[in-house]
């Protein structure tokens, strides 16, 4: 019988919590180094133009200006994905969006740097602009980039699993719907910031508020054409990431180059307006979905099309495109599936990954579509999902391996707690309940650049005071990765989290962790930490066994002791145990690594989607809508999240609540939109996000499915619970008012327009009426995995 855990599962404070509550945590902009210069980037005022001339002579003469860079100083391109190396630190010949960096200045203070930017004269030759998906596909003669899968098409994907027409032929009922999901920014409270210091020994150090120090390290070496071995990247505590700090950025590279040129430290902190233009946020996506059902509500086939407005650069866009089509199969059994997706370039700030990366948009479409189908078939919205629910330990039609799955339990929790079945469709006009479910990754199965090496590694070292130092490149962005490392190592070694010291996110001092994205850190760094700690425990038990005369397999490490399981009074204190261990083995240092299993299916394009496990969520939202003002107020949210195991339930709740909050912003108010290439609201005042006053009553439920491969059975908590909230609110609005807003965000204007349409005898729907008529390339036809041969499974 296994002992109960001493740390795992307990609602402990975060290990870095007090540092953040006292002002001691040092964020990137808090660095003030001796002789430090302040840098600023000059950004394009034109959405699409050739650079005819840049004259920096006026700025160079301004007293206090130490260096000025333009595109020719950093000509090597970069980009987060090896297939999309399309960014320049400073535009060389052409700018592609308002905000594209064109020059960089380092000066004695920020004001001088700012004045220097005003003195730089850039002559642009305007080019025709592309501002929408439709324009991108229509204006084939205008090209933002000269690469991709077609004119202004960055990526086109077409995959078919089995014959989708065969599935539709077996359907008793087929429905098509169209949806649009507007883009949104992450709005991290901390603006991006980087400090670089080049010293005369040839070593360059960059401190940056980044979620991915390893990728920044690689980009710096590539663009600076400088050996990676002489570059050190330290990720500072990230003041909010949500995916917005996962790309390498121009301000990081420019700060490094400016430091190398001047021989002095250089800091570049972006303004809030720049953060809106740097972006990499949620892609606007236009979607079309067609699904066939038997009369009993079983899915026979699904065909999904997505059109992503990518903005001016590639960023993670190839992955984003796949993500809009890949996870539909992880919640429902879909026997035949076809996905066609494309991402276009437009003259707007580049889109990238935001919490849920590419999957909230299709999840919104799918869950609203299912509600409409349920209504048509006279089924309860919960029942239609239950009839199609994916099963644990199964393989989806697109070859995703499902291990643990607590989705059914998630549904039970929220449906029961909200009284959904008794109340849905029965509340007074203006009030409504909506339901939706979702799934998310626990880390992308493949790294961003192809390699066979581990995705996460952890080293442990024990000092003679009994302290345990954990070295990991994982970076805490508020999600609690520092705490997870401390809890897992402490649990295995039987010490307190306060005995654990952390050295993290430093490319010189810590072994690899690819970064805080795709909900991968708990799963991957957690497993690596457990492996390193188990090796350490084996060394200690080996030595303690000799000392105590007790076989190692009877020893237990717990409560800062190492003792005989059968005679607990026979044992050593922790410090005694590590002393005998060090005497026997020398330096007490161990390492652990985590490499995800190879999970890709037998087809090209199968690299995006596989994950060592999937988390599951279900949500019910209750809304109160004002039919005069069109305002939608979310009053209550019930949400259940299958996290495998809650390593710390307090932190899991925090992630769930934060996900609900962020989803409510997206579904009701947030919009990253543009007028003539200029952001409509590049300020926190005008770009609306929910405040304390818009916070609904939240009821969260943690479901534990104990994943066989997760650290102590854990999966993920940071992103999954955002997904079902958006469609749950949209479905609740439909329940409340009988109108369908098939376009996110659900603003009062759209609600009023839908109500007016309904009064005039229309369908009471606001949303896209059509999708672009474009012929996708022939799909890659993928043979069905075993067990999927029959369309209708009994």
């Amino acid at each position: 019988m296994s002992e109960p855990f001493s740390i795992i599962g307990k609602p402990l404070p975060k290990v870095d919590g007090m540092g953040k509550c006292t002002g001691q945590a040092k964020f990137a902009d808090d660095f003030n180094l001796p002789r430090m210069l302040h840098g600023r980037l000059l950004r394009s005022t034109s959405a699409h133009a050739l650079i005819k001339r840049i004259d920096t002579s006026g700025a160079a003469q301004l007293p206090g200006v130490h260096a000025i860079l333009t595109g020719k100083d950093l000509p090597v391109k970069f980009g987060i994905l090896p297939v999309s190396q399309d960014e320049e630190t400073l535009a060389v010949h052409k700018v592609r969006y308002v905000g594209d960096p064109v020059a960089a200045v380092a000066a004695l203070d920020e004001e001088t740097a700012e004045r220097a930017l005003e003195l730089i004269d850039v002559e642009y030759e305007p080019l025709p602009t592309i501002m929408s998906i439709r324009e991108a596909l229509a204006q084939k003669d205008v090209r933002i980039h000269d690469y991709g899968d077609g004119p202004n098409i960055h990526k086109m994907v077409a995959l078919e699993f089995g014959n989708v027409e065969e599935g539709f032929a077996e359907a008793d009922y087929v429905r098509e719907d169209r949806f649009f999901f507007e883009g949104s920014n992450h709005v991290p409270m901390e603006q991006h910031s980087a400090v670089a210091s080049y010293e005369h020994d040839g070593k360059l150090t960059v401190w940056s508020s980044t979620q991915t120090p390893h990728y920044v390290h690689r980009a710096l070496a590539q663009v600076l054409e400088y050996p990676a071995s002489r570059i050190r990247v330290i990720a500072t505590p990230v003041g909010g990431g949500f995916g917005g700090k996962t790309d390498p950025f121009s301000h990081e590279i420019a700060a490094a180059k400016l430091s190398m040129v001047t021989g002095r430290p250089v800091k570049i902190t972006c303004t809030r307006e720049e953060v809106f233009y740097i972006h990499r946020g949620r892609h606007p996506v236009l979607m079309w979905i067609k699904t066939g059902f038997t009369r009993h509500g079983r899915i026979t086939a699904m065909h999904f099309k997505s059109f992503l407005d990518g903005g001016a650069y590639g960023s993670y866009g190839v992955a984003s495109t796949y993500y809009t089509g890949v996870l539909q199969t992880t919640t429902y059994k879909i026997p035949r599936y076809k996905f066609e997706g494309l991402r276009v370039f437009t003259n707007k700030p580049p889109c990238g990954p935001k919490r849920g990366h590419g999957t909230p948009q299709p999840r919104y479409a799918l869950e609203c579509h299912l509600d409409k189908v349920a209504e048509d078939l006279g089924l309860d919205p919960v029942e239609i999902r239950r009839r199609n629910l994916v099963e644990p330990n199964s393989t989806t039609v697109n070859y995703l391996r499902i291990t643990s799955c607590g989705l059914g339990e998630c549904i039970d929790k929220v449906v029961e707690a909200s009284g959904f079945e008794a109340r849905h469709g029965r509340l007074p006009h203006g009030r409504g309940l909506g339901f939706a479910v979702s799934a998310y990754l626990c880390g992308a199965g493949l790294p961003i650049y192809w390699n066979d090496m581990p995705q996460s590694e952890v080293q442990l070292k024990i000092d003679r005071g009994g302290g345990v130092t954990v070295y990991s490149m994982a970076i805490d962005i508020g999600q609690g990765s520092d705490s997870v490392l401390a809890y897992t190592a402490a649990e295995v070694l039987g010490v307190e989290p306060s005995d654990i010291k952390l050295v993290t996110a430093d490319t010189d001092l810590t072994p690899i962790d690819l970064g805080s994205y795709s909900s991968r850190v708990t799963f991957m760094a957690g497993n690596a930490a457990i492996e390193a700690a188990n090796k350490m425990k084996a060394l200690i038990f080996d030595a303690a066994s000799g000392k105590l005369g007790v076989p190692p397999d009877r020893l237990v490490a717990r409560d800062s002791r190492v003792y005989d399981r059968d005679h607990p009074e026979v044992g050593l204190t922790w410090v005694e145990a590590i002393r005998v261990a060090e005497a026997r083995h020398g330096l007490l240092a161990t390492a652990g690594s985590y490499t995800p299993p190879k999970l890709s299916g037998p087809y090209k394009g199968s690299g995006v989607g596989p994950s060592p496990a999937y988390s599951y969520s279900a949500c019910v939202a209750e809304v109160n809508c004002n039919h005069r003002s069109g305002e939608v107020v979310v009053e209550k949210v019930w949400i259940a999240h299958d996290v495998g195991r809650a390593i710390n339930p307090l932190l899991v709740e925090g992630q769930i609540e934060g996900s609900v909050y962020m989803a409510l912003g997206e579904v009701l108010m947030e919009e990253q939109t543009f007028r003539h290439g200029v952001h409509k609201f590049p300020s926190i005042l005008e770009y609306k996000t929910p405040t304390t006053l818009e916070t609904p009553e939240m009821h969260s439920f943690i479901v534990e499915s104990i994943d066989p491969n997760g650290p102590f059975g854990a999966k993920e908590a940071g992103q999954g619970p955002l997904l079902p909230v958006i469609p749950a609110v949209a479905n609740a609005v439909a329940d409340a008012l009988g109108v369908r807003i098939d376009e996110i965000p659900i603003t009062p204007e759209k609600v009023l327009a839908a109500l007016a349409d309904k009064r005039k005898g229309g369908a009471g729907r606001i949303g896209p009426k059509e999708i672009p008529t474009i012929t996708f390339k022939d799909p890659i036809r993928v043979e069905l995995p075993p067990g999927w041969q029959k369309v209708t499974v009994p």
Binding site: L12, K20, C21, M189, E190, Y661, T692, M698
Partner: protein, 171 residues
Amino acid sequence: MPKTLVTLHVNGERHEVAVPVHKTLLEVLREELNLTGTKHGCELGECGTCTILVDGEPWLACLTLPVEVQGREITTVEGMAEGGVPHPLQVTFTELGAAQCGYCTPGILLAAQALLSETPAPTRDEIKLALSGNLCRCTGYVKIFEAVELAARRMSSREPAAVAAGNGEGA
């Protein structure tokens, strides 16, 4: 650039700084006094991140000029702990996970401290209103409300502190 000598009382200490008059209090606190616990999210008075206390009232440091607050008592997050003992709000925010990334936390702590000094037992709605000018993108605010409520109970001695929240111990 012409500079003016300004006397500031910050966290019980008197500082004389020579700064251009247009420098904001936020800049002076962070850059001249090295009190980097006060953060910034917009520098336009929109996000509440740089909230500090002036004579116990929440002010936005990014919209304040140092000359306005000469001779008045300024409190930053660094001044919340007394004699090395964290303020009850700092303890409950740590215990309940009300700080995730922690960037908005100093401003919220000070806004909450101002609330509790006026209203020792605030209702949930009073807390929401008092913190409505402080944006947080991580927590969804729920844990923040709970931490303020727990601190209020402890400060009025209706509930003793369970632990001195430290490095992962207790609770």
